[in-house]
């Protein structure tokens, strides 16, 4: 009886969005009198940070710092339609809608600035710090604060824009299954190292090294929080979780966090995250949706590592000590 070590690899891809249902999201953007920008959506922030990302996307597009943008979301009396936050679609779909709305608002902003500066709008650029400058003559400039005031109280212009992003529904062809399930895919490759106690069947995940390709890391710190969380969830899915621990007997399902098994902090592996960026053709600044993908590759990587350690295949999730011991016993008797 011994502690045995093994490692396993898995490589995957993941579609962004809900093409097979039709996938629209809208956004509205307008400026306040003093040149702050309001993004209005009905998209839902599940805690992953959707509001922050939409603010950064709007800020980048308009050409202002992110703290000049406020996101008002998820009130159906004010926010235009969004399909919802699921299917790794939030950043990709709502982000594209925000870009379109912000571009339209930016164009009005530049037109008002052009009138104030008595130049052509096409000769203007933003400095990203709240000013609009004449290209090649940066001493000639106006603050976005003053442009917004002029638009509201002098020029009678609404600095606002509408955004709509739709992936039309793909209907699978009946006989061949020809379809377009996604317009872009995120990718991952994970290597997991485990120790398996062949006396108790217990698995300890030592390290999980994940490489994720996500199009563009719009906010690297927030990407990290999502990918690390996903990697932990993958460990949990592989080794611990079931609502029916005695299936096909359906009694004794967990009803709280004491009974429903999940890893605690001491059960989590040393986790490494490496991010690659191959911008997608239709993503906001090239972003893809990694929200679901990031919890998938750990599961087969751990299953393969368990085999590498003790030479038995557990092809049913979760990979419990009981299943490992039964497989070892069957292997020994063969």
């Amino acid at each position: 009886m011994a502690i045995r070590r093994g490692r396993g690899v898995a490589a995957i891809n993941y579609p962004t969005g809900m093409n097979l249902g039709g996938d629209p999201t809208q956004a509205l953007v307008h400026s306040t009198p003093t040149g702050n920008f309001m993004v209005t959506l009905s998209s839902v922030d599940l805690g992953q940070g959707m509001k922050q990302i939409m603010a950064q996307i709007c800020a980048e597009t308009i050409g202002v710092p992110t703290d000049r943008v406020v996101v008002d979301t998820a009130d159906t009396d004010t926010g235009p339609h969004c399909m919802g936050t699921f299917a790794s679609r939030g950043t990709h779909r709502a982000g594209n809608a925000v870009i379109q709305a912000a571009r339209e608002a930016r164009q009005v902003m530049l037109e008002v600035a052009a009138e104030e500066l008595e130049v052509n709008a096409s000769d203007l650029e933003t400095d990203g710090q709240g000013h609009i400058l004449v290209k090649g003559a940066p001493q000639k400039s106006i603050s976005i604060f003053d442009v917004a005031l002029a638009a509201h109280f002098k020029r009678g212009r609404s600095i606002s824009g509408r955004g709509m992003f739709l992936i039309p529904r793909s209907y699978p062809e009946k006989e061949t299954g020809a379809m377009k399930p996604s317009t872009c895919y995120a990718h991952a490759c994970t290597v997991a190292e485990v120790e398996v106690d062949d006396e108790t069947g217990e698995v300890t995940v030592l390290t999980v090294k994940n490489v994720f390709e996500i199009g563009r890391a719009l906010n690297p710190k927030m990407v990290e929080q999502q990918l690390v969380g996903g990697s932990w969830m993958g460990i949990s899915h592989a080794l611990y979780e079931t609502t029916e621990p005695y299936y096909p007997n359906r009694d004794h399902g967990g009803t709280d966090f004491n009974q429903y098994l999940m890893p605690g902090p001491g059960d989590l592996a040393q986790t490494e995250i490496i991010v690659l960026e191959r911008p997608s053709a239709d993503g906001p600044f090239g972003a893809k949706g990694p929200g679901e993908m990031c919890a998938n590759p750990q599961i087969p990587a751990i299953a393969n590592a368990v085999f590498d350690a003790v030479g038995v295949r557990i092809d049913t999730l979760p990979i419990t000590p009981e299943r490992i011991l039964r497989a070892l016993k069957a292997q020994a008797s063969n």
Binding site: V44, G49, D75, F86, G177, M222, G253, E272, E292, L317
Partner: protein
Amino acid sequence: MELRKSYFADQRKDDLHEIGQPRPRSDSPGHVTGKTAYFADRNFPGMLYLRMVRSPHHHARIRSIDTSEAQMHPGVVKILTAKDVPHNVYTILILIQIGPEDETVLADGKVRWKGEAVVAVLAETERAAQEAAAKVKIDYEVLPAVFDMEEALKPGAPVVNEYHGRNYYLYDSGECRKVRFGDVEAGFAGADHVLEQTYQSSPIEHAPTETTGCIVAPEGNDRFTCYTNTQAMFFTLDNASIILQMPGNRLHFVGGTVGGGFGGKVDVIVEPIAILGAKLTGRPVSFIYSREEEMQISSPRAAEKVVIKDGVMKDGRIVARKVTGYTDAGAYSRHSPYGAQKGAGHYPGPYTIPNVWIDTYCVYTNRTPSSAMRGFGVTIGDFALEVQMDKLARLIGMDPLEFRFINAYRDGDMKAHRQATEGAALIECMQEASRAANWPVAEKFMAMSSYAKGA
């Protein structure tokens, strides 16, 4: 976390100001100091609490429901049964024309899973609602139940859901969603090895920090404001409008700040009945799942079974792959027909295989209805595919990582669902994993590219 900018540098311009910056989240101070307002932080004078009377049986006919004793319980204001719900038989994907309507808001004549809602009790306090719910008397005739997808698909199995009339979802393509590419049987016939394996999974729980729920307030002008943690505002509003036969302009949904979803909050379960309660009593109504309900009543990830048969050559090429996927929807559709179909579009995984045959089934059993969950239609498929890849590599005596390089898809490769591959990056992920994990592969694999000509 490390960003490896050396990959795809020629595919990308890094000239952005706000994007790519690790800006602090503007909402984190509120979250970490407990000041962010979630839906359940709202409290209205005169609010009622809703508790469900749930089926103790997996499959049973309801002979009678007697609410008379519960009605007399102190604090009880209203008791709702199936006849009170204007459009009681519904299905949420009807909004994208995926029918038939197959589920009841409150059970009518029959229950199809243990935990199904039968009677809703509205009372002045949570305790009164719970005590009164225990006094509702329901007479059941227990029916045979089926918990296994194979059993459910056998002739003569008990029919779980009469709205389907058979224990599988009927697609326009027949009993399953199909993908056909090349000639899979010819591929097997010409292969050096053929390996068929079966993979299975258990339902799991989303385990969000915040349980599913809503609070509904009548606005006094015939409008109702629903404070909710749904993941999809208009999807929920529009389904509630159908179930309640109430024009959408009388519904106002407020949400968007949610303590975790993972797909568990896209079923439309709590909002319609709470709005109905508010309408019939004229009072605010709170309906929030307990942790027990979150874990055992709200939809889990579907149990799945995946059978993969592969033909592989000694040189590492996979020449044929046949996948039969089964998704256990439980008693009702919810999002499962979509999940099974998503699986058909995902197989055979990120590999270029000339001969592919995919069948994915959505099967009804008397288990808790499953639905959307992070990665559904794909997560269990990836487990099966990637364990199968490991087995195939070992079968032909090849390194499992090198085996994947040989089969990895690249830009321009035709996928089984007849889309040319674009934006591939699997090879580069594996190259970086090889370095990071100190798992060396042959130099020719390190020189490959997903997109560069000649590499």
